[in-house]
């Protein structure tokens, strides 16, 4: 597909936000942003950016970078591409533009990343960058399990709704706290409590729940290793199918630091 690129403009803020919101849905860990985030980004002189446009002239992706003149330090901050488009192809195009534009400013060092998008490994080494595993780490803690389970119930309810050939009561038990989700004829209902025997009961620790939500543990493997316990009349194959549907593989990504 033919793509055009141009430098980012102040009036692009809304479109950039819209692309970011769609991009964020594909990952876990990304922070919500508002229009102010982008207006501030586009206002600052040290920031540069390039956008990719489709044939209709709509923005389908952007790259932002920052150059510190005094330190001669350049940083490619973030690459955000419409999830319906080919990330690698558009990102390469944009990164090349940003890279050339940064070179004109004579930086002593250019860095990219701080976030972990697996596609970066296919883009930056080709431009002569070397990779470095950082000691910086993101940590997460569930402080209030009952509240947390209630808040994230759609994260489990929606995949159960999409799950084919299964109806029944699901009980997710995390350290003595429960989440009940009932599926009947395709309809989903989250229950506060029930004395009914669940058709599928999952028991896990808060640590494992955190890891599964952020995609750093795998539900079926955890079940096989005994870290995640399941009580059900279903066979192992069916149990694995349901677990994989409830905890789909996710990709963690973070761009905003605090």
């Amino acid at each position: 597909m033919q793509m055009r690129t141009r430098e980012v403009r102040k009036e692009d803020a809304e479109q950039l936000l819209s692309i970011y919101c769609r991009f964020a849905k594909e990952y876990v860990g990304l922070a919500s942003r508002d229009i102010k985030t982008y207006k501030r980004l586009l206002r600052r002189k040290e920031n540069i950016g390039w956008v990719a446009l489709n044939q209709k002239g709509n923005i389908v992706g952007y790259v932002t970078a920052r150059f510190d003149k005094r330190k001669r330090e350049a940083r490619i901050s973030e690459i955000v591409i419409d999830p319906d488009k080919d990330f690698k192809q558009i990102a390469k195009l944009l990164v090349n533009k940003a890279y050339k534009s940064l070179l004109e400013k004579k930086p002593a060092v250019i860095s990219a990343g701080s976030i972990r998008n697996p596609h970066y490994a296919e883009i930056f080494p080709q431009l002569g960058f070397f990779d470095m595993e950082s000691t910086g780490i993101f940590m997460y803690a569930i402080l209030d399990i009952p509240k947390f389970l209630t808040e994230i119930s759609p994260v489990f309810a929606n995949p159960i709704k999409r799950l084919k050939k299964w109806n029944g009561l699901l009980q997710l038990q995390c350290e003595e706290h429960n989440l009940f989700i009932k599926k009947q004829n395709g309809d989903i209902e989250t229950l506060i409590w029930t004395n009914q025997k669940p058709d599928f009961k999952i028991m896990l620790s808060r640590g494992l729940l955190t890891k599964l939500l952020f995609g750093i543990a795998e539900s079926v493997e955890s079940f096989r290793k005994g870290k995640l316990k399941v009580e059900t009349a279903l066979n192992e194959k069916e149990t694995a199918r349901i677990l994989a549907a409830i905890f789909p593989k996710k990709q963690f990504l973070t761009m905003d630091f605090w």
């Binding site: 919500s32 990219a112 701080s114 780490i137 994260v155």
Partner: protein, 266 residues
């Protein structure tokens, strides 16, 4: 632990605290001014009640800041999270449980405010990482950077200058470097020979190698960068043959490793 009779108080931020906070931040992170501290609070919309101050004998010794954000957890669910930031303790008050107590207060406040979870960014090779793990934080992922140097001698000069800026506030480093007056020669593949020395309490870039340097080692730029950032251990790089020590006593090398990584606590 703190002395039993020491008066320890946890309170929220008060106007004027930024001066002492800037001192502690400068010691723990990067040199920073009170003005920048205020600017950060304003920009991140941090309210005084979100800044927890630990005071021993009426002196601010520690601080924790909460920044509330919404994080995507899948299926378009954005959950409000208590982002923990700016966790610091003055070097004289470390390993006394001050920051653990402050963190507990901040997390209790987060929970009482109706926020069910918390998140933070930290480093794997600092003592604080153990504190966070004990408080229930789970390691999610460390990140990866891609780097390209275009003018390494310039970067090196800035790196040496930055050591001096950091040293100004680093009490432990000053103590440990006392009397350590050595010169270091680094032979970097594809870049050339770079040298620095530590003399009279200051780091200094040398234009040419001294006649009898105390430490000489060679490596390629990626290895040197990774070792300096703690991404790989010096020992491992030596074992793999990616870093070769031509001269240097073990004790001198140990100090050099601290200078490179800028980690001074045991």
């Amino acid at each position: 632990m703190l002395q039993e009779d020491a008066k320890y108080v946890v309170r929220n931020y008060r106007k004027g605290d930024e001066l002492r906070l800037a001192e502690i931040y400068s010691e723990c992170f990067d040199p920073i001014t009170a003005r920048i501290v205020k600017k950060w609070h304003r920009r991140a919309k941090v309210l005084p009640k979100h800044i927890f101050i630990g005071e021993v004998e009426s002196r601010i010794v520690s601080s924790v800041v909460l920044e509330f954000r919404k994080l995507h957890l899948g299926e378009e669910v954005y959950l409000k999270t208590g982002g923990v930031a700016g966790v610091c303790t003055g070097s004289d008050y470390r390993r006394k449980g001050v920051v653990t107590n402050l963190m507990k207060q901040a997390l209790d406040y987060t929970k009482q405010s109706g926020v069910s979870n918390s998140a933070l960014f930290t480093d794997l090779d600092i003592p604080a990482h153990r504190i966070y793990s004990r408080l229930g934080f789970i390691d999610i992922k460390n990140w990866k950077s891609f780097i390209k140097y275009l003018d390494y001698p310039f970067v090196f000069k800035r790196w040496v200058r930055r050591r001096n800026r950091l040293l100004k506030y680093a009490k432990i480093a000053k103590r440990k470097l006392q009397g350590w007056e050595k010169s270091v020669v680094i032979k970097l593949k594809d870049v050339g020979t770079l040298c620095f020395r530590f003399k009279h309490g200051r780091f200094e870039t040398l234009k040419k190698p001294p006649k009898t340097p105390d430490i000489i080692f060679s490596a390629d730029v990626p290895t040197y960068t990774r070792v300096s950032a703690g991404a790989i251990e010096w020992k491992e790089a030596v074992k793999n043959g990616k870093l070769v020590v031509e001269k240097g006593k073990p004790a001198e090398i140990e100090m050099l490793k601290r200078i490179l990584k800028w980690i001074w606590e045991e």
